[in-house]
């Protein structure tokens, strides 16, 4: 057990949660660990964290990290609405939503997209295994065309790619990764949390029990063989100073609202994360080539988030009292008299 304390004076264990009840080897468990690492290293204060989720094995995971934080395991596919409301009630909370591919791309598709459209300031993590784990292995809408179910059934539909959909909507932060690739997932989680606006992070997270067999395109082996990272991501939080020791031209450095930096190191051909259409092209090409493109696909640091556009005060709305919320007695009588 590591006892080094982070910037808010907490050990790594302070970010642990209840023991997982998921299957041994479930990708979701790795993501839980990446989450713990990211939150610990960022030094997020537990009482400022709100863990939101829908229903599914994936949606259970908020119980498995930062036990002392508030969490809300809502109803199936409706995490975005709950998160939106909670955020509006208290802008000071760091909203961290966890969902599954069924939760997001089937029943929750509408809420997922409308949250993006509003650019609600939150992190939205999809633990994407192409199947309905908790209901025992039916195909989800992210399952690839031709992907084979454990019992042999073949998926005959085009997948709904959450990242492609998010890009089409002009989502301000779109990334994809793989639960087995902590080196990439952890900085992306940090970046998503630091970003102000809706950050979509679609993490392929194999279901060892129902979707980790040959013929599945969401199995560990398939993903390992087909992952194509578009760039090495590293994250430098605002409380550490940047020291870029790369030769010029090999990296891109993007600054976020809170002063943190995302540093992208070129791998193969260069991808400009501020170019939405390039991001769409990269996804389309990957899909055509049968690759799983991972990394930070798109980032727009300029787009205003909903609360800012709506001119909400920094002070949480929940904290205002009668004095701030009720008009004066005189205004009231004046107002009533106007109905005469």
């Amino acid at each position: 057990m590591s006892t080094t304390l982070n910037r808010v004076g907490l050990p790594r264990d302070a970010y642990k949660g209840a023991a997982t009840t998921l299957c041994a080897g479930c990708g979701h468990n790795s993501i839980t660990n990446h989450m713990i690492k990211a939150l610990y290293e960022l030094g997020v204060e537990p009482h400022r964290l709100a863990k939101m989720s829908g229903i599914g094995c994936s949606s259970k995971t908020p119980a498995y990290f930062v036990e002392t934080a508030h969490g809300f395991n809502g109803v199936h596919g409706r995490m975005p609405a709950l998160t939106t409301g909670a955020h509006l009630a208290n802008r000071q909370m760091i909203m961290l939503g966890v969902s599954g591919d069924g939760d997001t791309a089937s029943i929750g598709l509408g809420q997922f997209m409308h949250m993006i459209r509003r650019n609600i300031d939150c992190t939205y993590i999809i633990e994407d295994n192409g199947t309905y784990g908790l209901t025992k292995g039916q195909f989800s809408a992210t399952a690839d065309l031709g992907s084979v179910q454990k019992k042999g059934a073949v998926n005959t539909f085009q997948p709904i790619d959450p990242c492609a959909v998010a890009l089409t909507l002009g989502c301000s932060f779109v990334a994809r990764s793989f639960s087995g690739d902590g080196k990439q997932v952890v900085p992306l989680i940090k970046a998503a949390l630091a970003h102000r606006g809706t950050a979509i992070l679609d993490i392929i997270s194999p279901c060892v029990t129902f979707n980790d067999h040959d013929g599945s395109t969401k199995s560990y082996s398939w993903v390992k063989d087909h992952e194509e990272s578009i760039a090495d991501v590293s994250f430098i939080p605002f409380f550490e100073e940047v020291h870029v020791d790369y030769e010029p031209g090999t990296i891109r450095d993007v600054q976020l609202h809170d002063g943190s930096h995302i540093v992208l190191k070129k791998l193969g051909e260069d991808h400009d994360p501020s170019d939405r259409r390039a991001a769409m092209r990269v996804l389309e090409e990957g899909r055509a080539a049968g690759h799983l493109v991972t990394g930070l696909l798109y980032l727009d640091t300029a787009m205003e988030d909903f609360a800012t556009t709506e001119r909400l005060p920094e002070r949480p709305l929940k904290d205002f009292g009668e004095a701030d919320l009720r008009m004066s007695r005189d205004d009231f009588h004046q107002f009533m008299s106007e109905f005469a």
């Binding site: 209840a18 204060e45 537990p46 009482h47 709100a50 863990k51 939101m52 908020p62 119980a63 002392t68 934080a69 508030h70 969490g71 809300f72 395991n73 809502g74 109803v75 409706r78 975005p80 609405a81 709950l82 998160t83 939106t84 409301g85 909670a86 955020h87 509006l88 009630a89 208290n90 000071q92 909370m93 509408g110 809420q111 409308h114 509003r118 609360a307 709506e310 001119r311 909400l312 005060p313 949480p316 709305l317 929940k318 904290d319 205002f320 009292g321 009668e322 701030d324 919320l325 009720r326 008009m327 007695r329 009231f332 009588h333 107002f335 009533m336 008299s337 106007e338 109905f339 005469a340």
Partner: protein, 601 residues
């Protein structure tokens, strides 16, 4: 000519919607109100934007009756499509102001006709082509004014009041009214008995407010800071008014910051979800909808009940099932809202019966939500919500917010870990909660719609599940005693009682007068909340027969009343139902009641 009938008549304007007639009707209403005469307008409009029949019933009575009247004294016939049918609704001896072009041959001879060439007049006398269609309606205002004797001064007030926002519109409208008024003077001599005369002593200090305006104001004064909604008739105007009021009273003039967030959601599921998320995070939150939206909110309503989240849900009822008649009124959601969601879900329901209660209950609903940590349903309807009602000015709140059992950092220090989110320490079924953001290591807990124990830990334990469900029942029983109590009006000698609620109230008031006059005085208990209070039982026990009057087909509250009674009292209760989408008139109570009383029990 028969003797005069003064200040006691019902005007019905039959026009085409989207033609601007609504403005004319409101001017007429405000003018008469300005004369000191009580007014009770009912707008019967189609589920459509332009071109379909619409009716505006303006009832005036010296007593200030506000129920819909079942007969028309003065018809303003402006719509050829409904002309023949409209004519049938006029009572014998009534007056009919109609477009000259409408044929009156082989029609009724027991009414007085005042044919007016409205379209000709509009063409000839109204210059502006763009405004002609609109202003044509003002012409009939002038004619009615002449016929009933509404003074110019009152009409001027009416127009000014109506065009507060755009004063330059005042003159053209007055001119159009004058056209009608002159036409009356030049062409007609009074042949009908109806007159309006200025009154004093009744409307002083009163205002005209729509229930949805009242509810929006109530929510504002109740401290709502997050409202999520999806447009639907007849509830849209509630949140639209809230937005308007918030722009004026919740916006920091210096910084432009808003102390409220009103979100137009993508649908009703999302609307309630957002409100619940906000309530969970500690804001006073609400949503507003109507029947179809209530159905779509069923799953989230169950989460709110079981996870114990404060939230306020307004249901401005229209008549269903399904899409039904979106612009017609009903009390058809009561039973469904009361147990909205699968499993053993039960909710607190408030039943405002006046616009003043729309204001007060909307305001207090947020206290109830916080105190009982559960969704609060406020059931209004189209009649209450979208019509103008004469009401005393509302009272400025005299109490601070009641945020209920919320633990602060200091409380948690004091309790030193001795706290469980779902522990019933006060034996009232209400447990203590902490809000996200409370800076204390013990503050955090996990909220879920699945099984949990007193410490908010996940469990599938049969005992823990049953314990929790029993506490939830206890909580509702606690609430039952603290919700707005029924209002009982009894006269010593009456052996018959009426139980009603919501917008049925004015019809009951009028029915009681009629019945008393007919030598059948009836007592009255007006329900104001569910679950039912004990007063219902004692009221029934004091009467031989009790009639539950409601505006739905299935006698939803009649059923709830019977279930709340000991067996020996059940036999005393009878049901009176009105369900055609029109606001219930007094006769819909008096007639069935007298019939049922006629048959021996």
């Amino acid at each position: 000519m028969t003797e005069q009938i003064i200040n006691d008549l019902t005007i019905q304007a039959a026009t085409v919607n989207g033609s601007g007639s609504q403005t004319a009707n409101l001017v007429l209403t405000r003018a008469i109100f300005h004369m000191g005469i009580p007014v009770a307008p009912k707008n019967v409009f189609p589920s459509n934007i332009e071109g379909l029949p619409t009716w505006y019933q303006l009832r005036v009575t010296p007593e200030g009756h506000m129920a819909r009247s079942d007969k028309v004294d003065v018809l303003i016939a402006f719509n050829v499509a409904t002309w023949q049918a409209d004519l049938k609704t006029v009572r014998p001896g009534g007056a009919v102001i109609h477009e000259e072009a409408f044929s009156t041959n082989e029609t009724r001879t027991d009414v007085t006709y005042y044919p007016v060439p409205f379209s000709k007049l509009a063409k000839a006398k109204i210059q502006s082509d763009t405004l002609r269609k609109q202003l044509a309606n003002m012409i009939y205002v002038g004619v009615v004014a002449g016929q009933l004797g509404i003074p110019m001064e009152a009409l001027e007030h009416g127009v000014r009041r109506q065009f507060l926002a755009k004063p330059k519109a005042v003159q053209v409208n007055l001119d159009a009214i004058k056209v009608g008024h002159d036409y009356w003077q030049d062409n007609f001599s009074k042949k009908d008995p109806y007159r309006l005369e200025p009154m004093t002593g009744v409307v002083e200090g009163k205002v005209l407010v729509e229930g949805n305006q009242a509810a929006a104001l109530g929510a504002l004064m109740g401290g709502v800071t997050v409202a999520a909604w999806y447009p639907i008739t007849p509830s849209s105007s509630l949140c639209e008014n809230l937005i308007a009021y918030a722009d004026r009273f919740r916006t920091d003039s210096a910084t432009g910051e808003k102390r409220i967030s009103v979100v137009q959601a993508e649908d009703e599921l999302a609307a309630l979800g957002m409100a619940i998320g906000a309530g969970w995070a500690g804001a006073r939150s609400m949503t507003s909808t109507s029947g179809p939206g209530i159905s779509l909110m069923a799953e989230f309503a169950g989460l709110g009940y079981y996870a114990e989240i404060p939230v306020v849900i307004f249901d401005i009822q229209r008549i269903g099932p399904s899409t039904g008649l979106p612009t017609r009124t009903s009390q058809g959601d009561v039973g469904f809202a009361y147990t909205l969601s699968h499993g053993d879900t039960k909710h607190i329901v408030l039943l405002p019966g006046t616009v003043e209660e729309c204001y007060e209950f909307a305001r207090d609903a947020f206290d109830y939500a916080d105190r009982f940590q559960t969704p609060i349903f406020v059931l209004s309807d189209l009649d209450l919500g979208m019509n103008l009602w004469m009401t005393p000015e509302f009272k400025y709140p005299d109490k601070p917010f009641d945020r209920g059992k919320v633990l602060s950092k200091a409380d948690l220090d004091r309790l030193a870990g001795e706290w469980g989110r779902y522990r019933d320490v006060d034996a009232d079924g209400i447990a203590y909660r902490t809000l996200p953001g409370t800076d204390h290591p013990a503050a955090g807990f996990f909220t879920r719609g699945s099984g949990h124990d007193e410490q908010a830990r996940y469990t599938e334990s049969a005992e823990a599940y049953a314990r929790n469900m029993e506490r939830l029942s206890r909580k509702l029983e606690t609430a039952r005693h603290e919700l707005p109590a029924p209002i009982v009006d009894e006269s010593p000698q009456a052996s018959i009682g009426l139980i009603a609620f919501g917008s049925t109230h004015p019809a009951v008031i009028e029915a009681r007068e009629t019945l008393a006059a007919a030598g059948k005085p009836v007592d009255y208990l007006r329900l104001r909340a569910l679950p039912l209070a004990d007063e219902v039982l004692t009221f029934v026990s004091r009467h031989e027969h009790v009639y539950v009057v409601e505006q739905n087909r299935d006698g939803q509250v009649y059923d709830l009343v019977r279930l709340a009674l000991p067996a020996e009292l059940v036999g005393r209760v009878r049901s009176i139902r009105h369900y055609n989408g029109q606001p219930i008139p007094a006769v819909a109570i008096t007639e069935p009641l007298l019939q049922l009383e006629a048959v021996p029990a």
